[in-house]
Amino acid sequence: MAIDKRDIEIKAFADHHVITQPNPLRKVLRRIAEKDLDNLDDPVARAEKALAGLSGEFKAWMAIEADRLSAAHAAILSDGFTEEACEELFRAAHDIKGDAATFGYPSAGAAAESLCRIIEHAPELDQVPSNLIAHHINAIQAIVRERTKLDNVSVAGELSRKLRGVADEYLTHANRDRPEHLEAILAPSLAPAD
């Protein structure tokens, strides 16, 4: 919906302007009486149903994401911690952190979050014990590949919790003289719980 700049009102103050305009999206709002709600299709329920309809693809999508992470790690093992390789490792882990719970793999998401924290807060990525990074990636692969074999709630959850504990211990020690990182490491996540 186009903005009509003639409708914009600007009030000037000492060090700022306050800019207001009639709500340009008001035309898409419909007021519904409470009594009529039961007769209407719920858009959220409809979207949840559509998302459930996609769920048959989630296992394959998760495998693709996990393989992308492994490939990023393999590039680092082969070529070292180049800026490009580190960025790709972070993005791959970060995507899993964001997507995995939607795909039905919350523990893989938790392990990926732990890996993201290592990449983001380790003072020197090439000084991080190589096993620490490898264990995260192997765990994510195991959770994704062995989902049907593992008692996934307990084993995968325990695995990701242990990894997070070890990673946090390392990061807390490595950042003992970097208060801004320490604060970020110790701050609670805003992401909703599983």
């Binding site: 919906m1 186009a2 903005i3 009030k11 103050f13 000492a14 060090d15 700022h16 302007h17 306050v18 800019i19 207001t20 305009q21 709500n23 340009p24 999206l25 035309k27 898409v28 709002l29 419909r30 007021r31 519904i32 009486a33 409470e34 709600l37 209407l40 858009p43 959220v44 409809r46 979207a47 949840e48 149903k49 559509a50 998302l51 309809g53 996609l54 999508w61 693709i64 994401e65 960025e87 972070f90 993005r91 970060h94 995507d95 952190k97 964001g98 997507d99 995995a100 719970a101 939607t102 795909f103 998401g109 993201c116 970020a184 701050a187 996540s189 805003l190 992401a191 909703p192």
Partner: protein, 181 residues
């Protein structure tokens, strides 16, 4: 109680992950949206923003080359020929308090931490449609009013000078990001 006519809204979705784009497209179409444009990086999104003039932008943060934060900053250029006022919903795996603050200061309207849910996305869209905030322009900021709580006690260096304090009764971006989606 309000409902949105999604079929009258035009969305721009920017995410480098094709799976997340597919999920977003599915959710928006299920809500009733017909016009959903997609891009996989910030630079393309900016071109599409100028071309399609979307009503609402939904963007990821972390993307190669030109990320969602830079996209928000480019859209929020008060002197631009395009529309600098469009609501921007930042949908991201970043879930740290510091990130929410940085997003807010880039002019992001709403923040939604992944994992995504239909309810969380719907609520953010409803909020930007039904409760638009005035825009504030200072030397260092242009974007939706960042004041969302009733405290008048803030005396920090960025306190605005002049005029009555107008406070919008909305939960802070941080509180909303914390709340269950």
């Amino acid at each position: 109680m309000f409902r949105i006519d999604f079929n009258k809204l035009r969305f721009l979705v920017c995410d480098d992950n094709p799976h997340m784009r597919r999920i977003l497209r599915t959710l928006l179409h299920s809500f009733g949206a017909r016009e959903v444009y997609e891009s996989e990086d910030g630079a393309t999104a900016l071109e599409m923003y100028s071309h399609y003039v979307p009503d609402i932008v939904i963007t990821d943060w972390s993307m190669p080359i030109f990320d969602g934060l830079e996209l928000a900053q480019m859209i929020r250029q008060p002197e631009s020929k395009g529309n600098p006022f469009a609501p921007i919903i930042m949908l991201t795996g970043h879930s740290e308090k510091r990130r929410v603050t940085v997003a807010r200061d880039a002019g992001v309207t709403e923040f939604l931490a992944k994992p995504i849910s239909a309810k969380g996305l719907y609520q953010r869209i409803l909020n930007v449609v039904a409760n638009p905030r005035p825009f504030i322009k200072t030397k260092t900021y242009f974007g939706p009013d960042r004041r969302r709580n009733t405290s008048n006690a803030y005396i920090g260096p960025e306190r605005r000078i002049g005029g009555e304090v107008e406070v919008l009764q909305q939960p802070s971006l941080l509180d909303k990001a914390r709340s269950s989606v």
